[in-house]
Amino acid sequence: MALYDVIFYLFATIVLVSAGGVVFSRKMMYSAFSLLFTFFGVSGLYVLLSADFIAVTQIMVYVGGILVLIIFGVMLTTKITGVDIKSGTLGAFQMGIAGLASLAIAVFMIIMSMNTQWMQKDPLAETSTTVEAIGGLLFTEYLLAFGVAAILLLVAFIGAALIARRK
């Protein structure tokens, strides 16, 4: 087994176990902090797919921004006086249906993905960096989308600040 495979399975385990922690844990804070390991593991997978810029962006935006926001959200919308910040779930019957449905989705899609003849090309040559290529694409072909995304971010943050403000 090559080193690459070992590292792949390591990160895959981190991602799946911690995602399970997010979904199944009874305490909200545990879910939030499990999300940290999910993001970290996904970023490791990006590195294995030689997407270095995306991997670092993943850590920066998800861990440094979104996760902190979510933790603040958890703290602000629950009473911190008790240690156990729990969240209610549905009854066993509904849980069973939801579990069966998502399991069915997973099984169906796995079978589908294994039987499909994907348009496989030879793996990309190990490029030294993806930053230049991404920057080039963003400022030529996707310039409009890039500009719209920038405006969207601005609008979203102004809107968020406006909505969250106490009246």
């Binding site: 997010v22 909200m28 997978l45 921004g65 926001l69 939801a98 963003l138 979203a156």
Partner: protein
């Protein structure tokens, strides 16, 4: 057989199924948001995997960047709305929030 496209797809599918399960079963709005993040991440893994193995090249990376931008904007707005809901209802249980006014 080394690690190929299918491995990454399977991880992405499992992550997606976990996210769907989380969204379907959890009542707390913030936990629903976390399930959404899992689904977005699984989509991103797909993009990057196809960029590496399926000839999508750098365009896959660009798509992921836009997904991340949208995720950031979405979380900011969603949390603002959730905070507002909390101020009005004193809870964030998505099953019981069934009216637009308080």
């Amino acid at each position: 057989m080394g690690i190929g496209l299918t491995h990454y797809l399977i991880i992405s599918i499992l992550l997606f199924a976990l996210g769907v399960f989380g969204i379907a079963t959890r009542k707390n709005a913030i936990l629903v948001l976390m399930g959404l993040e899992l689904i977005l991440n699984s989509a991103n893994i797909n993009f990057i995997a196809f960029a590496r193995f399926g000839g999508m090249n750098i365009e896959g990376h660009v798509a992921v960047i836009f997904v991340i931008i949208l995720a950031a904007a979405e979380v900011a707005v969603a949390l603002a709305i959730i905070l507002n809901i909390y101020q009005n209802f004193r809870h964030v249980d998505v099953d019981e929030i069934n009216q637009l006014k308080d």
